[in-house]
């Protein structure tokens, strides 16, 4: 019988205990706090209306994508959207497996 390396039930109990502790800490804060400037939304240091504050999907991880530009450019070329290319890759991989099987026999 397989003994699982971790116990999810214990993990959940731990999570609940931590959540209760966090709630107690939060509850011990000022009850009459009304908020201030630190709660206002800022975009690149500029104050902006709340409705315009949403960052769209394209802008997230811009730095990650920019630093891997070379990789992504080559990947975009591969993902051409042309069915002929898809079939070519398929046939190429079949040929590689096929050749490898026969090479293994020669090596053995």
């Amino acid at each position: 019988m397989y003994e699982i390396a971790w116990q999810p039930i214990i993990w959940i109990i731990s999570f609940v205990v931590i959540a209760i502790v966090a709630y107690i800490i939060r509850a011990s804060g000022k009850a009459d706090y009304k908020g201030g400037e630190q709660e206002k939304p800022f975009l690149s240091g500029n104050e902006a209306p709340k409705e315009e504050m949403h960052i769209g999907g394209s802008n997230i991880y811009w730095g990650f994508l920019h630093s891997l530009e070379g990789y992504y450019n080559s990947m975009k070329k591969m993902h051409s959207g042309i069915i002929n290319d898809y079939v070519s890759w398929f046939v190429l991989i079949t040929a590689i497996i096929f050749i490898s099987l026969f090479l293994m026999e020669v090596i053995k």
Binding site: Y2, G56, S58, Y61, L65, F90, T94, S100, L101
Partner: protein
């Protein structure tokens, strides 16, 4: 009850097949009756699969010779080899059957509201039932030619449903899917011809017994491995996946994932059962590991820049397939070696457990993407935002699916990934490191989706999706949470027998006799 269990292998294929052909007639008579009939069939199939699963886990493999008076007699009295169509269901087959039936049930419930009336809903359910027939047939058949037939049924029904909306991009996705599926089907058919020409046999067990691993068998192996690896979305043959997954109706995308996993099953069946230890285990096992690593890395890195929510999820489907290929590939690599019993089988269990986990959470994620599309009529993440204000249940389902796919405890994705990390580490620590890195990138990618679609100020004035769609998502969420909380129970009762069924080729061969 005994009669039902004996005949359930045939019933599980016949019932949805007959229902599929009855569907257009019932559709003409009454629309409500059509919906009830479709859901009823999916529920009956699910119950039958569960009953059969219990029996297989308890009493072992089922064989069923179609057309024979005594369906348990696989070899007719006048013959020396099996000549009829034989269904052969072991723990691995029924494990896959459970996945297919559950995903199709969730998809059918979801489609009640998601697919609009008056847009060929009757045809939609006909094709959905045929997809189920194709998947169950592939998973239950013990005959290589019928594997090809069911593969074709699955492919053609899937292509028709990808093009369901009849819009330009849907037709393009379906066309690409159909072209690539047809070529892979021809590869399979050619392999079948090579086997039949050499051995006069089509039964998988009989073929495996007589397998001489000739040059022709090697050609057949190359064709089968590439065909099924392509259909399960392995890099670098994955290009069709984002094109097809993103344009299909969301309920169909969830079933396409299950369909890809049926191909993954066929790949494992060919390697472990048809060829077994006669195979160049290190070469083919190593190839599966390389396919797995490439799929994991390319899938997740290509997901990150996507703006189309379903295209992003499609790349994640490729990435997650990589984990399965890595786990089971590691098992194949070690098959027959002393290390197999210690960590080879464990890697296989991780890979196989990940198949069912992936089907559930990826199915759920595609359904949540469908829920967003249902309300906003866009898949573009840049046009979304603040949906959690109104679509609270969809948001919760998405969070659960996203945490599960990212391998965050205590969800099911973590349980299977942990087994994979532990076991493949012993082959090479690099494998585990790449697998963990991919998990981190997966989490990053879904944080992006959650932020873009659900967080932020209320931009769209939308309502929560209809109840039937929520029920469809709820079915999969329940399975995800249950599997996450009781992974030991699932591994011991479902996954371990499935892994052993693949690894123990001799048992599969003995069941046929002759």
């Amino acid at each position: 009850m005994n009669w039902l269990i004996t005949h359930s292998p045939a019933l599980l294929i016949l019932l949805p097949l007959l229902a599929a052909f009855l569907m257009p007639i019932i559709d003409k008579i009454n629309k409500k009756a059509r919906n009830i009939f479709a859901i009823l069939i999916f529920i009956i199939v699910e119950i039958l699969v569960i009953i059969l699963a219990f029996d297989i886990i308890k009493n072992g493999m089922h064989v069923y010779a179609i057309g024979e008076k005594n369906p348990l007699q696989t070899i007719p009295s006048q013959a020396a080899v099996p000549i009829r169509i034989v269904l052969q269901i072991d723990a691995m087959g029924i494990f896959m059957g459970l996945i297919s039936a559950t995903v199709c049930l969730a998809a059918s419930l979801y489609s009640l509201a998601y697919i609009e009336e008056g847009k060929g809903k009757g045809k939609f359910y006909t094709l959905l039932l045929l997809i189920l027939v194709g998947m169950l047939g592939m998973e239950f058949t013990g005959d290589i030619f019928n594997l090809f037939v069911f593969y074709e049924i699955l492919s053609i029904a899937s292509a028709a449903l990808i093009a369901y909306s009849r819009k330009g991009e849907a037709s393009e996705g379906a066309f690409k899917f159909l072209v690539i599926s047809s070529i892979s089907a021809l590869f399979i058919l050619f392999s079948v011809a090579l086997f039949y020409g050499q051995y006069d046999l089509l039964n998988i067990a009989a073929l495996a017994k007589n397998m001489k691993y000739t040059h022709l068998d090697k050609i057949a192996l190359a064709l089968l491995v590439s065909a099924f690896a392509m259909k399960c979305g392995s890099v670098p043959m994955h290009f069709w996946c984002p094109d097809a997954y993103s344009v299909a109706p969301s309920s169909i995308t969830a079933t396409l994932v299950a369909g890809s996993q049926a191909s993954l099953y066929a790949l494992f069946r060919v390697c472990f059962t048809l060829y077994g230890v006669k195979l160049d285990l290190q070469l083919i096992g190593g190839a599966l590991i390389i396919f797995g690593l490439l799929s994991m890395f390319v899938g997740v890195t290509m997901a990150i820049p996507q703006k189309d929510i379903k295209r992003l999820m499609a790349y994640h489907a490729i990435s997650q397939t990589g984990y399965m290929l890595l786990g089971v590939g590691a098992g194949l690599y070690l098959l027959g070696k002393p290390e197999f019993d210690s960590y080879g089988i464990r890697a296989m269990e991780g890979g196989i457990f990940h198949i069912i986990n992936h089907a559930m959470y990826k199915g759920l994620l595609f359904l949540t993407a469908g829920a967003i599309f249902y309300r906003l009529k866009t898949r573009n993440l840049n046009e979304m935002g603040g949906l959690a204000h109104k679509m609270k249940y969809t948001s919760i389902f998405f969070i659960i699916g996203a945490l599960a796919i990212a391998g965050v405890p205590p969800f099911n994705g973590f349980a299977s990934k942990l087994i994979i990390y532990e076991s493949v580490y012993k082959i090479s620590p690099i494998l585990s490191i790449i697998a963990m890195l991919v998990s981190i990138l997966t989490l990053a990618s879904f944080v992006k989706v959650f932020h873009s679609a659900f967080m932020g100020p209320k931009i769209h004035d939308v309502e929560e999706v209809p109840k039937s769609m929520l029920i469809g998502m709820c079915v999969l969420t329940f399975v995800i949470i249950f599997f996450g909380l009781f992974p030991g129970f699932i591994v011991n009762n479902l996954v371990h027998p499935a892994a052993m069924a693949l690894a123990e080729q001799a048992k599969y061969l003995q069941a046929i006799g002759g």
